[in-house]
């Protein structure tokens, strides 16, 4: 059912009745996470060029066991002679084109806003890898986690939150941040105010949104950095020090690892529900 939400781009088809792919290359961090969760170690040929960078990858430690592609271009990928390449719409079209030309089987994911999108990706990938059982198990596990969390948060008053970054953008409706808020008992004031996607920060209207808490990444010194920006400095929530750090890689994760972010935020916003 959710299959139609995904754009499935296939290269020249492999011979019918192919065995499980044994040399899978993941070109982006998001697909690293999915791949590591589902594949046998022997199936993985290489992960993305930032898979081992803890600043961007939630699976940095786990990724250390595997080689990385040197750069994100087609040649670096093809060096590993993959029989399956995982990419997303963040990948440059030129790279995708070259990979297609090379006759490599390509799986491009383009929807990851909600959990249902993630589950669909997991199931799709599971089929590709011949790991349907593992995929189903993981999905079930995730659903359980999410249900547990939802149960804990039942009836809670959503806390009014705002995502604060040093970049001049604010996350509105239809972003992973929105998804995070919905699962952690929070209300994204930017979405309430009508912002969609990653919109330029409306620095003056911000003051009227009555955010109670600012959600920030867990970079050390982020508070000082934000304090230099007039429109954050002036917020009552900032002045009162109500900032909740969430690990960056988790917050922007397009895989099931985001559930960890849900839990971090939920705990911070509603500690009484976690005793």
């Amino acid at each position: 059912m959710t299959r139609r939400l995904l754009a499935l781009l296939l290269a020249l088809a492999l011979p019918l009745g192919a065995a499980r792919p044994q040399r899978v290359v993941s070109q982006t961090v998001g697909t690293d996470e999915l791949l590591l969760a589902l594949a046998d170690p022997g199936q993985i040929a290489a992960l993305s060029h930032i898979a081992q960078d803890a600043r961007f990858s939630p699976v940095a430690t786990e990724a250390k066991r595997f080689p990385m592609i040197r750069e994100s271009d087609a040649e670096s990928v093809l060096r590993f002679r993959p029989d399956l390449v995982l990419a997303t719409t963040f990948t440059r079209p030129e790279t995708l084109n070259l990979l297609r030309r090379a006759g490599v089987r390509l799986l491009v994911l383009d929807r990851f806003d909600t959990l249902e999108d993630v589950y669909a990706s997991l199931q799709l990938l599971g089929r590709e890898l011949g790991q349907e059982a593992r995929a189903e198990a993981l999905v079930a596990q995730c659903r359980a986690r999410v249900d547990t969390l939802a149960a804990r948060l039942r009836g809670v008053r959503p806390v009014r939150v705002l995502s604060a970054t040093i970049y001049p953008f604010t996350s509105g409706a239809g972003t992973t941040f929105q998804d995070l808020c919905e699962h952690a008992g929070a209300l994204n004031v930017a979405a309430e105010a009508g912002l969609r996607g990653h919109a330029p920060t409306p620095s003056e209207r911000l003051l009227q949104w009555r955010a109670e808490v600012l959600v920030v990444s867990d970079d050390p010194g982020i508070q000082a950095r934000l304090g230099e920006i007039p429109h954050y400095r002036a917020l009552p929530a900032f002045k009162a020090g109500r900032l909740v750090p969430v690990p960056g890689p988790l917050m922007s994760s397009i895989s099931h690892h985001r559930i960890a972010a849900y839990e971090v935020l939920a705990r911070a916003l509603h500690p009484d529900r976690f005793r």
């Binding site: 620095s203 003056e204 429109h231």
Partner: protein
């Protein structure tokens, strides 16, 4: 046009632009609210918006506009060419490279973002490094033509460096976006720190420039004739390059790359009021400040995500063309 009316007219224009910058913006505030906010009263949000957002931003805008206007006059006198602009000697490219280097290499070196003073500092350092070679040439009496060519080569080299850094950060698209925003210039999130960083030095440089107007008149009609009439040309050229560099470097450091102001404002004012630099310098400072504030107002009032550098070109360009078409 009579120049006696110039200073009052330009001051009035600047005052108008300044008040408009305080009164208009994302949030609708009445004049009464703005006045109350300035005096410390009114509701909290209005007061914060006017005093902590719009006021520093307007002050920074004035400083940047004045700096670029003045720098443009200097370059045009120095190169004896009314089409010269502040960036000719590579100052703004150097400033751009300095800031972009910090933005690009910062994440790689471990800190995700730069402290508020690091970026302007890096930009100023880059600007001075770039002009360092040119300053040495200017002192050793290198001809104007050679300086110009050095500037051209330097601009190309620094531009290549900046592009290189842009491509190496292409994977980190957030950093990339920050770099692009900086390269397109803007006054977002300018705070009182920026006012103190840029304001006093720019003011000092402008004041130091004013007494040089008469000598600039002579220089603008020929270096040898100026020298024979008693101008210490070597010292004057050094002073002009130094002050212009300071002005352009600081303007770039605080607002990113904003083009066109230094070219159009002095040129337009010269067409209107004549080439006397004793008048052109202060006029261009006032005019530049007013122009920049007006362009910034446009970026804030029309929510189309226009960047400051884009607006200065979109407004300045056609106006300039129209002015040139008028029969002499």
């Amino acid at each position: 046009m009579r120049s006696r009316a110039a200073i009052p007219a330009l001051l009035a224009l600047l005052a108008l632009a300044f008040l408009a910058s305080l009164a208009f913006g994302e949030l609708r505030l009445s004049f009464g609210q703005v006045l109350a906010a300035l005096q410390g009263g009114g509701d909290d949000i209005a007061r914060t918006v006017v005093r902590d957002f719009r006021l520093p931003r307007a002050l920074v805008g004035m400083a940047v506009g004045a700096a670029l206007g003045a720098s443009g006059v200097v370059m045009q006198a120095f190169f004896r060419n009314p089409l010269a602009s502040p960036g000719l000697l590579g100052v703004s490219s150097g400033g751009a490279l300095g800031a972009v280097a910090v933005l690009a290499l910062g994440p790689l070196l471990g800190f995700a973002s730069a402290a508020i003073w690091v970026l302007p500092l890096a930009s100023t350092a880059g600007a001075f490094a770039a002009t360092g070679a040119v300053l040495m040439l200017a002192q050793r009496g290198a001809g104007t033509e050679r300086l110009l060519l050095s500037g051209v080569a330097l601009n190309a080299l620094l531009g290549a460096g900046t592009s290189f850094l842009l491509t190496t950060t292409a994977g980190h698209f957030e950093v990339n976006a920050q770099i692009l925003f900086w390269l397109m210039g803007g006054l977002e999130s300018r705070s009182w720190e920026h006012v103190w960083m840029g304001g006093p030095p720019i003011l000092a440089a402008c004041l130091l420039l004013l007494p040089l107007g008469r000598a600039m008149d002579l220089l603008s009609l020929g270096e040898q004739s100026a020298q024979s009439l008693g101008v210490d040309v070597r010292r004057l050229r050094f002073q002009l390059v130094l002050l212009s560099t300071i002005l352009t470097a600081l303007a770039t450091a605080v607002a990113g790359m904003v083009g066109f102001v230094g070219l159009v404002v002095p040129h337009v004012l010269r067409l209107a009021f004549g080439p006397d630099h004793r008048r052109l310098l202060p006029y261009s400072m006032l005019g530049g400040a007013a122009f920049l504030l007006a362009c910034d107002l446009v970026t804030r009032v029309f929510p189309m995500g226009l960047r400051l550098g884009v607006v200065t070109a979109l407004i300045g360009g056609p106006f300039f063309l129209w002015l040139l078409r008028r029969p002499r």
